[in-house]
Structures are given as structure tokens and as C-alpha cells.
């Protein structure tokens, strides 16, 4: 009787352990106790379910029963599959790994197993399945069969994947738009910053010529004019250096020269350059006698210069800028703290990106690339850089850490 062979009891309790079906065709009847009326109805119900594959497996993994849903999802008729091992539903790789029987062993031990993964149809095509295997046990708790319910989730998975692709595309588009905006912001800043000293040069040259025409050009006036031209030229050169530093770091054309660097001596030099000017006395250094790491001195000089310059630029005299050097965690930490505009959390995250200047920095001179450059250099030394607001009032703290021996740029 084909119908009996294709079905089985869904009783979870049976009077005793069942024999494992042997041979090419299981004699499923041997498993089937007399069916009660309700069980007949239930079996018919299970048979008729089309959206779920619901069937029984023997403890050795052979298929005992089959329903319409199983036929629809997996492509086998009951005649074709009942009696065959359920590993036929798995990919070759999973069969080779012994996964099907491992899952049954797990279900036998824990009572139930739920799994999601690729399964194989009769025609070899794959579908994404949700599988629940429940052990049917006798009164002693020994499994005599497994109930297996399989759902075809391919459509849902494809929809999810489509959704993921869509989201990824949206994110990529947003990132590209943000990059364009950032580039635009940068071009705005760069053109403004570069044009200002150029405007100075032109105005000063024009004014000297005009003074000569009107007979007002004396030595003092000429000297003043030349001094202003020199100042504007230095400004222009510094801006161009900043631009070139970024492109050099990006293009990675200049070799790194690794040598022992005393961060204290280096910081002293950097500070001395700043205290030659108008910021005398604002920078306060606290440091040990020496703190040596392995690194590229000229690039680390650039990092320290950028951090100190940044602190001076974003805070007003006479507030101090505190530079602290400490030996920490097999490396050297330098922190530069100001009492200036400070920074918010969102700005702190973007601060080290190219053109990622803080939202309160619109009117600060410079291209806003200094911290990005510092970040690149510190990373290449295997170190860390961070920015945060001061805990004890307005202002910002920038901290770098360079490992003692880690300064081997890739």
C-alpha cells in the first residue's frame, strides 16, 4: 500500500523501540502501529501541507515518510525517496563532512535541532532551507525516529539579499556624496586660503608701484612692502607644503628613515620654533629627561608641529597649551591640551579625516589637513592618535602614542 508506505505515525510515544529499517525499500508498515481516527485525520493534514516538507527519518537517517510539501520543495515523489538516506538533501561538501548524521546525533542528544542552510533538490538545484529536526523518543527517552520539517526560504533569503545589496548601494552612494561634499568643502577652503596671500602679494606690489608713481616711495615704505611680500610668500609656501604633505603621504614616494628618536628633545625643538614668535610662554612642557622610540624624526616633528600649531590656533592667548610627555605601555605618549574652542563628539570622530575639520573651525586659517597628516604618520608608526574634549572645562586634548619598537612602517 503506497499510501501507508509514504506516511508514518507522528506519535511521539510508542510502545517500544522500533527496528531500524533495512534494505533498499523500507517496510514502513513495520513502524506503523494501528492508526486511530484522529491520527488518520492528522496524517491526511500533514500529507496535504504544501508549504512545509514534513517527514520522518529513521534513526539511521533513512526517509520513512513523505508529504506533498516535501515533494514540492525537494522534487522527489514518495516512491523515489522513501527508504533513501536523507543525506541526499545535502550538498556534496556537507555530505563529505558527515554533517547530516552529526545533526541527527545532536537532535538525539538535545531533543531538537534547528538549522538554516543550502539544501539540494532532486534536480541538483539548491534552495535555502530552514530545517527543524525533532527526536521522537520512547518512554526510556531513546529516539526511535526523527520528525523533520523543512521550509524553503529561498525567496525570503533573496529578498533579504536584495535588501542588503540595496542598503549597501545606498550607503556607498551616501559615502560618495559625502566625499564629494568634503572635496567641495576642501576646494572652497583651499581656494580661499591660497587666494588670500596671492591677494596680498598683488596688493603690495600694486601699492609699491603706486607709491613710486606718486613720489611717496621712500626706503621705509619699500622695506615695509618687501617685508609684507616675504610674509605672504611664506604663508603661501606653508599652504603648498601642507597640500604636498598630504599627496606625498598618499602617494608614499618618500622613504621613511627609522632611527632612535628622543621624543623629549624633538618636542623641545618644535616648541622652540613656536616660542620664537608671538606665542611666547603659552606652551608649558612636562616631560622626563629622555623618552626614546624608533621612528622617522622629520615626520614625527611634523606631527608634533601640527598638534602644537593646532592647539595655538584654536585657543586664544594668554591661555596655556600644556604638552605632556610620558612613557606608557612600551611606548611614548605625548598629549597636547588647549583651552580653546574644544570639540564635540561628532567632530572628534571626523577630525582625522582629510578635510574633516571641526564644525566650529570655519574661520580658522589653514587648509585643515594638519590632523589628517598627523594621523597618517602616527598610524604608519604603529601608534595611536585621539582627540577629546577636556574633562575640566572648555578646550581639547590631542594625544599620540608611539610604540618604542613598533616604528616600522609597512
Amino acid at each position: 500500500m503506497a499510501t501507508q508506505r509514504a506516511t508514518g505515525s507522528v506519535n511521539q510515544r510508542m510502545s517500544g523501540p522500533q527496528e531500524t529499517v533495512a534494505g533498499d525499500r523500507p517496510a514502513a508498515e513495520t513502524l506503523t502501529p494501528p492508526l486511530l481516527r484522529g491520527e488518520v485525520a492528522f496524517r491526511l493534514l500533514v500529507d496535504a501541507v504544501e508549504d512545509y516538507a514534513i517527514f520522518l527519518l529513521a534513526t539511521d537517517g533513512r526517509v520513512l515518510t513523505w508529504n506533498l510539501g516535501a515533494q514540492r520543495i525537494k522534487g522527489y515523489t514518495a516512491d523515489e525517496i522513501v527508504g533513501r538516506h536523507f543525506s541526499a538533501f545535502y550538498t556534496a561538501d556537507e555530505r563529505d563532512e558527515g554533517r547530516p548524521m552529526r545533526l541527527l546525533a545532536w537532535a538525539a542528544e538535545h531533543g531538537r535541532f534547528e538549522d538554516e542552510g543550502w539544501r539540494v533538490r532532486k534536480d541538483g538545484s539548491r534552495f535555502w532551507a530552514n530545517v527543524i529536526v525533532t527526536a521522537l523518543t520512547d518512554e526510556a527517552g531513546v529516539p526511535y525516529a526523527f520528525a523533520k520539517v523543512t521550509r524553503d526560504l529561498t525567496a525570503r533569503r533573496e529578498a533579504e539579499e536584495q535588501q542588503r545589496t540595496l542598503l549597501a548601494e545606498q550607503r556607498a552612494r551616501a559615502a560618495a556624496e559625502e566625499a564629494l561634499l568634503a572635496r567641495d568643502r576642501f576646494l572652497s577652503i583651499a581656494s580661499h586660503e591660497l587666494k588670500t596671500p596671492v591677494a596680498s602679494l598683488q596688493l603690495v606690489a600694486d601699492s609699491v608701484a603706486r607709491a613710486r608713481e606718486s613720489g611717496r616711495l621712500d626706503d621705509a615704505r619699500l622695506d615695509t612692502g618687501l617685508g609684507r611680500i616675504a610674509r605672504a610668500t611664506r604663508r603661501l609656501a606653508a599652504l603648498l607644503d601642507e597640500l604636498l604633505d598630504v599627496s606625498r603621504l598618499t602617494a608614499d614616494v618618500t622613504p621613511w628613515e627609522l632611527a632612535p628618536v628622543d621624543m623629549v628633545a624633538l618636542t623641545d625643538e618644535v616648541i622652540a620654533r613656536f616660542t620664537d614668535g608671538v606665542d611666547d610662554g603659552r606652551i608649558q612642557l612636562a616631560a622626563p629627561d629622555v623618552a626614546v622610540i624608533s621612528g622617522d624624526a622629520s615626520r614625527l616633528d611634523q606631527v608634533l608641529t601640527n598638534l602644537v600649531d593646532n592647539a595655538l590656533k584654536y585657543s586664544a592667548p594668554p591661555t596655556p597649551v600644556d604638552v605632556d610627555i610620558r612613557e606608557v605601555d612600551e611606548g611614548v605618549e605625548v598629549s597636547v591640551a588647549d583651552r580653546g574652542l574644544g570639540l564635540d563628539e561628532a567632530s572628534a570622530e571626523r577630525m582625522f579625516e582629510a578635510f574633516g575639520r571641526g564644525s566650529n573651525a570655519e574661520h580658522i586659517q589653514g587648509l585643515g589637513l594638519g590632523l589628517h597628516i598627523a594621523h597618517q604618520i602616527v598610524s604608519r608608526h604603529g601608534g595611536r592618535i585621539e582627540a577629546r574634549a577636556r574633562d575640566d572645562g572648555p578646550g581639547a586634548v590631542f594625544r599620540i602614542w608611539i610604540p618604542r619598537d613598533g616604528g616600522a612602517p609597512a
Binding site: 572652497s188 581656494s191 596671500p197 596680498s200 603690495v204 600694486d206 601699492s207
Partner: protein, 125 residues
């Protein structure tokens, strides 16, 4: 027709530009004061009234837009003419939003600055 000697306030954060403009305009016979940003410009206007304000757009502490807000609320300075000088992109629309009487993009010729200023100032017969 001779040009009237005017009182001109140069508001510009770049020191070289500010000092040079101040000098050149003084050579032209004008009475000139300088300010490094909008806030300082308002302080100048507290004690001194200008016929013309030469105004940079982007400055620390107080930019041109904020300065104009304050300026418009001062009875003695509300109608003072304004010429914007800036290296900013989209200067024309910024000058328009500011309600400026004239604008010049940086870098500029000195002659253009002097001509523009002359055009803005009333002439005496």
C-alpha cells in the same frame, strides 16, 4: 568735480591686506581705520562713524554676516555703504545676501579697488 575725502573702515583679518589697504587709501586722502574682524569693527563704529565699510567675508570671532546684522541695528551706521572683498567662491551671491553695495573678488588690482570706492562715494561739486 572732486572726490570727497571719506572715512573708510577696512575690516579684514589678513594683516598684510588690512595694513596695505589702509595705507593706500590714506595716500588717496581718505581717513582710514582698520579692524581684524566684525567685533572689532563694531568697536570702531562705537567711537567713529564711517562713510564706507570695506568688508571681508570670512573672519574669526565675527564674520561679515553677523557684523551686518549688528550694523543694521545701529542708527548711525545702518545705511553706511559696504564693499565686500573676498576670496570666497560664490562671492556674488554672498554679497547679494549681505546687501552689499559692491564687491570685488580677491586677488584684485589696486586700481579696481580705488575706482570702486570712488564710485560708491558721493561727489562734491
Amino acid at each position: 568735480m572732486t572726490q570727497r575725502v571719506a572715512r573708510i573702515l577696512v575690516v579684514e583679518d589678513d594683516e598684510t591686506l588690512r595694513e596695505t589697504l589702509t595705507e593706500v587709501l590714506a595716500d588717496e586722502g581718505h581717513e582710514v581705520r582698520g579692524a581684524a574682524h566684525g567685533y572689532e569693527a563694531l568697536e570702531r563704529l562705537d567711537e567713529w562713524s564711517a562713510d564706507l565699510i570695506v568688508l571681508d567675508l570670512m573672519m574669526p570671532r565675527m564674520d561679515a554676516f553677523e557684523f551686518r546684522e549688528h550694523q543694521r541695528h545701529r542708527p548711525d551706521a545702518a545705511t553706511t555703504k559696504v564693499m565686500v572683498l573676498s576670496a570666497a567662491r560664490e562671492l556674488a551671491s554672498a554679497a547679494d545676501r549681505l546687501g552689499a553695495d559692491a564687491w570685488l573678488a580677491k586677488p584684485f588690482n589696486l586700481a579696481d579697488v580705488i575706482d570702486s570706492i570712488a564710485e560708491l562715494l558721493p561727489r562734491s561739486a
